[in-house]
Symmetry: C2
Subunit: 443 residues, 2 copies
Amino acid sequence: MHGLLTDLYELTMAAGYFEAGKATEKASFELYIRRLPANRNFVIAAGLAQAVDYLLNLRFTDAEITYLRGLPQFTRASQAFFDALAGFRFRGDVFAVPEGTPVFAGEPLLTVRAPLLEAQIPETFLLATIGFQSMVATKAARVVEAAAGRAVIEFGTRRAHSPEAGVLAARAAYIGGSIGTSNTEAGFRFGIPVFGTAAHSWVVSFASEMESFRRLKDLLGSSTVYLVDSYDTLEGTRKAASLGPPLWGVRLDSGNLFELAPAVRRILDEAGLREAKIMASGELNEYRILELVAAGLSMDAFGVGTELVTSADAPSLGAVYKMVELETGGKRRYTAKFSAEKHTMPGAKQVFRYGDHDQIACAGESPAGAPEALLGPVILNGELAGPLPDVDAARRRARESIARLPAACRSLYEAEPPYRVDYSREVLALLDETRKGLEGAEA
Amino acid sequence: MHGLLTDLYELTMAAGYFEAGKATEKASFELYIRRLPANRNFVIAAGLAQAVDYLLNLRFTDAEITYLRGLPQFTRASQAFFDALAGFRFRGDVFAVPEGTPVFAGEPLLTVRAPLLEAQIPETFLLATIGFQSMVATKAARVVEAAAGRAVIEFGTRRAHSPEAGVLAARAAYIGGSIGTSNTEAGFRFGIPVFGTAAHSWVVSFASEMESFRRLKDLLGSSTVYLVDSYDTLEGTRKAASLGPPLWGVRLDSGNLFELAPAVRRILDEAGLREAKIMASGELNEYRILELVAAGLSMDAFGVGTELVTSADAPSLGAVYKMVELETGGKRRYTAKFSAEKHTMPGAKQVFRYGDHDQIACAGESPAGAPEALLGPVILNGELAGPLPDVDAARRRARESIARLPAACRSLYEAEPPYRVDYSREVLALLDETRKGLEGAEA
């Protein structure tokens, strides 16, 4: 299952490791974010549950192996290699930060320690899963911050990068702080609260807007949200208001919210519907919500779609998966890459959080002051180390951890100074050694 | 299958239509792009195959129905509605433009004509599927245009918005003109050519770069692509060159390509490897490729990842799905939305392509001059109307159609004047009538 859902070079490398007798050398790879995206002061880790599920179920079917055998890149690969794929199981260890944890550039979100072949193949899937969900959880945290206590609902499946991306975006947005999603599958699969009432097609399918509103109320009662902008927003609001309670409120999906929101509020209030709420939707993001909130508009909820599920102002996260150690020829070698702008740090690491700063240390260090160690065991010898926290626990962790960050980090713009992340002396010494060792080998 | 992979409001509307006795009223919905994204002069339609597969297999399982029954939005829905979901089949008609067709704002890519309940529920999935793949196919066409005959390979799965998005992005990029992908699953599932040799982890896993190169050549022979920038690009190239033929060439993944490419070319040539190719990768997009090509650098192929699969400069497509007709109470009613900035055009449509311009006409029109009609039947009464073109046919269609567009449309920037798209007199008359009819109903 999912055996081929990876870049081809992971599989050619797997073949190469196998033929070179290196497939069982124990390697450590770290997944981390090279640089924080623009305007981000932290990233919320998310996607671990799907990554773990993938690793525990990663297999190669006969049809997949037959396909590989037919590729020109595998003509020199041996039968023994294909047999190894047929029997593939992930039997390694995984250490990870829990979902909902804020992390910073260079900090491992996940460490895989496994025989080289088993650690290499999952690279692509792990990056796509954790990178995407972390990106969306981070965006959600920004939107929620801007909304300043008003509810944020994720509405973006239709603009997600494929339907399945919509399901996972709903999950990540919930971890990042949305109160729920319009994505029904996400509700079904993950237990996330779901929201939704009616679209413009509902309104235009009836002979009159008024009839469409009456029918909606019949169905939804106190959950009714009237979409009032199909023809004329204020007129639509008056019709909705004339129906009286029960209702949840109205939704404004177009037009100038700065003018419409107060006018709509007035119409509802004058009809005695002071409890009726106003939801805004339509091309919202954290910047526009900040403006609406700053203007003191009486809005109770925001439906945020496209911008949230695509993280439109930063639609990718520079997550990478790099080999940091390899046990080869009976001894441990630390590995790194020293090219111009893309260097890596050798050795498996731990991240210690002190509250006002983090330290990236070697995996075995135990610093004074009992800081929080972010990475913990998730899979040991191919078996789940224990139950993973659910999405509600991850969401709580995100909210509580963000609240504990220095206030400057919660800005929608670059924090000055940024959150401090140091390397321990041991890591820096290892970097130095590795560089020297490498120069020796190449000389 | 996939029954819940939709926005909740599609399902509450379905319940509402059912309870109002409207579920079987025949509706037509059109899927189109409201505005072309910045710098796009056309959009390449893609994703139809997945949309069709979804419609033909859309079902609700018992577990899914039980989930819905437990939601507060469905407490007033009747047993008969849930029975209707349990027996759900899409039995309507679908008309669509073939994959690989360039389309413009306002032109339907797909029309669904079906009982209202069956036409409403698929909205979210159809938008996500067709919107995403069309966005990526369009981006690929731009990258391929900039590459001016050099090969473009899609490398982006790790930064795609979920692993499955990576598979579909590979498909869409191929339709848009890439020669293939690094995504093995896309090769397996769709027959797209796959490419890949080795990453930096391969190089650093050996005691020396030289040994890693030797081993790679043992495995891949004439397919060998040496990744030469792990430590020092020119030194790496010299080592690769010293191994002599056979090889495909080298890949440069970092550093200043303007300086490195000529130097690397020189090293290869001086070693007698004039046939060896240079591939560039690493944060490329159409704008950077245009610069590299304009500088006359000797490059043979580009690996394009993140920017391609996320369409980074325009990471969403404003695709919408709007009801345009409804047969209700024994007569056909044309439907539209007239709110401030988001109006829609009533009536099912056809698009006629004249070469230098298009006309959006009513579905039944047959204009003089025998222009190409873009929309054709794909599903009739819930059955596939005929086999869909495969990805190679779609790719060919895209290439040939783009070549026939006015040259200005192939610019990476806004064409001046833009491609002309008119509405027929009949469509405009229908708009006028619909608006008047609506004012009557609401008066």
